[in-house]
Symmetry: C2
Subunit: 452 residues, 2 copies
């Protein structure tokens, strides 16, 4: 038979089992946290009618999309989870209860130029709260609490949720009569971290055509910093000049003042007037999340409030707020930086039962009794030398080998070997289960992601 | 703005939240059971190089495949999880420990003619144990135990795992010197249930060209039935005439004799000589699983032993054993037949906290404390009338509403209303958590699938 050399397409992540176990754990944490906040899991098709998926049309997205014909159908693979959500909510509008809260962790597709760390198939992990006509600010206020609990559960503490409100920015530019240039200005200001204040001023004056005074006003405004209270107090000085600004300030205060009730420590949260988020789509609170010791990764969880989710599909305003994690990229970067904790139990089993006799009934029964206690068990059934059996256990990374020879069977016991310490004890099946479970409880509490 | 009528492509399942919750629970049971048997989760790309995916080529599959070009690449969507597994094992051969046990629950694509209950995008839920050169029979013996625990966890008891061995069939046809016709014969015999013994005899004689005597021998053979011991005893009468047959009989005995140790009750298991499985691919034990009260559904979990998983990609025999559940179709059929238990808690939250005051800090703090106990909570933040708030709770199907008015806040308590019974009690936050958790424990034990 001719052999075809196997390969996986470039830009497509395919993990080895040990890495996959860590990815699964990340997903498990996300699902669990979203569920605690009452989000319903959703699953929409990966293929959609291309006309529907591209209703918004144009732009970079359309060039990157996977689009193809099958029979008479013009099909495309989803390139995000927001457009399918908009379609879903519009299509099932009458059957949903609003505010509609859903989470979706799913693969999306963008035919980007192949490049290290760029993926063509990647997971997005999204939550959205979609209102019918209106949506209370409380929903925007809840988002930082969700972000906080996710990253906390990942094992992190040195991260910051940075929040701003587009109405504050739009209102401020309105005060300066620069509303028409606000998009251009925000894109420039967004580069502050990278190029510094002087260069931003130069661009504002030379490229955007602002006066020195206007540029200085803007730089002064976005330089407002300090504790949340200090920033909010400084913003009070601008109150009363622009209605949109005032609404934005009220919203920002509503988001910040409930942080303590939501259990978010002050140190993990910052009002940051430089956050704008690129998309025109956002209209209120916007969020970014950065790992304090790894600013080079950029925002690991972003989103915001929007006023019109599904205008292309339904003649009814559906405002909402959502955040998204680019899971595949996040996982890739954490791995590259060595931040995935090697101590995490990522073996496919907690124990490998090794029968040392030809008759294996006792080993099978022992394995079943361990499984009944919730321990993940493999029975090694291959006829190999003892050394090869142990080498398999090593390769898998299982913490425990459970040996069952004639002596053990005669005594109604088994030998449990901790493969990390080398310590071996001979105990009953019940004692073995207890011993292993106790240890698993300990390793389960170890952080998935390291900070260093 | 022009409105595009939203729709989901036909043949693509898109569930409403309540149904999706049940699907998620099925997947959760599968993941948990696979994990207990030491299978590693795997995730491979949905898009593969078409040349690699179609290495085997030809047949019905190729016509149904979603295949398209992107740039210079000839791409295709996977149509099962077995070919991607073969590619994965061949590609990562040097990095895997064998026997390699993996599970994968993933979407696959087949452009079948649209038809009620036929899906173009559907989940398969697969496990495989892949050996390097050899694979011990113990692995085949373990499979019924896994199937048993899955369907038991679904809430079922009236199901039967039917097992046969291809070597027994091949050996038997060898005894009759009918090896060359064995494929044809098996396909005919496979129709026994549908068309009856007389018609099978007619086809065997007229279409397959067998003599009356040969046909009678075959019908006598596949008519062997009774308890497992009775069937195995009857098979002993054929021993010694054909080596392949004898090996098959030994294997079948090894699979059946460990059932008790594996915790599989006799009543959920049957040796059934009529099971052949269509695919030429299988070489040893084959499995089918039927719901006893719903034979019309057909096999809900099937698979078998094969000798050469990845011959197209690697010059090395990789024998294995695997089973597959057509999850989307199974879910669809169970739903159609009304077998999904409506009692299952499929609301996105366990409790809806309803603030009855304009100041909502206390409600937020209460919600967080319930979440800290593991209760899934939504806070209803919209400014609506009380009746509308309760109607939202009803629509969601949450079991509990937790009301927080001025009186409750002053007393440091909250009012917990069981929305099924209408009973309302005023208690502390801790008592509320206890009360709700106690109830959740009870509803969590309710069966996902009904038998009727």
């Amino acid at each position: 038979m001719d052999i075809i050399r196997p390969r996986t397409l470039s830009g497509f992540m395919e993990l080895l089992p040990e890495k996959q176990a860590k990815m699964e754990r990340m997903m498990e944490i996300l699902r669990k946290t979203y569920a605690l906040y009452g989000f319903a899991p959703l699953d929409t098709p990966i293929i959609e009618d291309a006309q529907i998926l591209l209703a918004k049309g144009g732009g970079e997205t359309e060039k990157q999309i996977y689009r193809f014909a099958k029979g008479d159908s013009d099909l495309a693979l989803r390139f995000d989870l927001t457009v399918p959500l908009a379609k879903y909510v519009a299509l099932h509008y009458n059957e949903l209860a609003f505010p509609f809260r859903r989470y979706q962790i799913g693969k999306v597709y963008r035919g980007e130029r192949a490049q290290r760390g760029r993926f063509r198939e990647f997971y997005q992990s999204d939550i959205d709260i979609v209102g019918d006509g209106k949506l209370d600010i409380l929903n925007e206020a809840e988002i930082p609490s969700i972000i906080y609990n996710i990253f906390k559960a990942f094992g992190l503490s040195r991260f910051q949720i940075r929040v701003n409100n587009r109405k504050i920015l739009n209102g401020f530019y309105g005060m300066l009569n620069l509303s028409e240039k606000s998009g251009e200005i925000m894109r420039t200001v967004d580069k502050l971290d990278k190029i510094g204040a002087d260069k931003v001023r130069t661009i504002l004056m030379e490229d955007c055509g602002l006066s020195q005074e206007e540029s200085d006003e803007i730089l002064k405004f976005i330089a407002i910093s300090g504790s949340n209270t200090q920033v909010l107090n400084a913003l009070e000085d601008y109150r009363g000049c622009n209605e949109v600004f005032d609404t934005g300030l009220e919203e920002l205060k509503a988001v910040t003042e409930n942080l303590a009730a939501f259990g978010v420590p002050e140190e993990n949260f910052a009002v940051d007037l430089t956050i704008a988020r690129g998309l025109d789509y956002y209209t209120g609170t916007v969020y970014e999340t950065t790992l304090l010791d790894h600013p080079e990764i950029g925002s690991v969880c972003s989103g915001g409030r929007y006023d019109n989710l599904a205008g292309y599909y339904i003649d009814r305003p559906l405002p909402g707020v959502g955040i998204s994690i680019g899971l595949t990229r996040l996982f890739y970067v954490l791995d590259e930086q060595g931040l995935l904790n090697p101590e995490v139990n990522s073996a496919p089993a907690d124990a490998l039962v090794i029968p040392m006799t030809t008759e294996r009934t006792a080993a099978i029964a022992l394995a079943q009794s361990l499984r009944n206690s919730g321990i993940r068990v493999q029975v090694y059934g291959e006829q190999k030398k003892f050394k090869q059996k142990m080498s398999y256990a090593d390769k898998l990374g299982v913490p425990y080998a459970v040996l069952l020879g004639e002596d053990e069977i005669a005594a109604g016991k088994c030998s449990v070997k901790d493969l990390r310490s080398g310590v071996q004890v001979t105990v009953t099946a019940e004692e073995a289960a207890e011993l292993i479970l106790e240890d698993l409880k300990e390793t389960a509490s170890c952080n998935l992601i390291l900070e260093k």
